[in-house]
Amino acid sequence: MTLSTGTEQATTIHGSSPAPEVARPRSLGLASRLPWFPLAVLVIFVFVAVFAPLLTSYDPLGMSLPERLKPPSHLHPLGTDTLGRDVLARLFYGARISLIVAASAVVTSGLIGLAIGIASGYLGGAVDAVLMRLTDCFMALPTLLISLVFVMAVGPGLTTVVIALSIVGWSRFARIIRSEVLSIRERDFVALAKIGGAGQVRIMVRHVLPNVFNTFMVITSLEVSGCVLSEAMLSFLGAGVPTPTPTWGNMISDGMPYVSTAWWLMVFPGLALLLIVYSMNLFGDWLRDFLDPKLKQG
């Protein structure tokens, strides 16, 4: 505008034609910024897991020895395994296990971590010291090792896997949420709530909790992929949900001896795993940026 002529200035002063604003894509703001690829993958994942029986006519446990180790064909789009079971059907039903384990483990560890993080950060003092040392202890445990030991001790099964993953998972929630609460509890609105006569529980639930929700969602989205991966790892090592229930982990491990002759046994569950974890991480990154108040416009 430094080179604008007199007439141009006159019009702006009279306000008859306001300076053209930089067009802000308000209406399609959210839609254009959504991470379409990871979102699509995740929607398909959930859809497949929920509607697995409707999407394939094969029984994931139905053995057919004459059909064993068949490469992908129009009958079996992803081939069959060593016992003649349809790989696609097993992949679909395996998605269910992944979804159930990841969702329950993240919800359990998330709720525990949220409660401990808020209590620790808000109450401070001795409570904080004890809870945070406890968190340190659990953070120091190697996820895989402790899950393995736990599963071996209690016996494999869906519930055991969920508990095993939650035992370790909550500490990450607790640590991050506590640090967030430390800054929230110093804000004036918490002081104002105290002035108004609110008790500690009320302040934690009504004032602190909603303010850590963004952070909670971001950790959740990143933890889900970790849980899917850990579940697959446990299954791969034979410590997850026991066979014959199909999981991506035990499918990969079952296919390992045949990697040179029947590549489809390992490749498809491996690809599925890669796709889910990658998408989940992309989505988590997007969510973190999206919810970051520093990147938000007034």
Partner: protein
Amino acid sequence: MALLEVENLSTHFFLRRGTIKAVDHVSFSIEAGETLGLVGESGSGKSMVASSLLRLIAQPGRIVGGAIRFEGVNLLSLDEKQMRSYRGRRMSMILQDPLSSLNPVLTIEDQVGEGIAIHDKLSGAALRDRVIEVLKLVGIPAAEKRLRDYPHHFSGGMRQRVVGAIALACRPQFLIADEPTTSLDVTIQLQYLNLLREIQQRDGLAMLFVTHDFGVVSKMCDRVAVMYAGMIVETASVREIFNNPCHPYTKALIESVPEVDEKVDRLSSIQGQPPSPLARPKGCPFVTRCPVAMPRCAGEMPPETKISEQQQVRCWHYV
């Protein structure tokens, strides 16, 4: 009997480096419907007095002595649960910064209604009606339509009105205003002060007005207490404080207020720095900066001396 009587209140902070006497033997009283101004420079302990009255001093600070009598009840002898029934209902407070005083993720209705829900156990439509009533009281236009709005939907001045609504929701008898207009621009300041005055006259509200602005003092207050280094060095009516300031610190404060109709080349200011809170002089805390200090001032704390019915001063020159 005064509504609020504070006697020898002391609040100390126990740090590893030493003890900070943030509030040191402070005494004052406020009648129903009266406004006491509490003035002093930053760090003089004004806000600590305010927090102490509500017993909201966080670790490592502690109220170490004195009495706070509200309607004759010593608040320092109450347990935490009884104290909570005073906060918000009988005494309340407005904080300085309307931007951070409101919870960004709760609606206005939730925030204004919180105190009413806690103390009067209202819910549903009855709660909503009370919230609307309070919002109207503080002059929020079209209050009914703004209940579901969030703080970021409001301008700074309106937000501070909402903060006022939160503080006044349960109709307290006593309000502490901790520099409520410092972060507002001048015209909005005036509106806000008028509003507080109006509510005060209607409800007979007693106020402790914490400020460092003598313009606000002359507009709002009946009496003034001047704080320096955790102590009240002079208490007087507004008229006396402007016409006959006694303590050298009060004199210096009044002199440093620029006059509108006077042409000044240099603004007058008080020489030197307040003493470090960890190493206060044994005698009068102002001795290090006082233009008329005597040898005696450094050695002994001056007693409170009565100048007139309403004016007391702590200075050896008046003993």
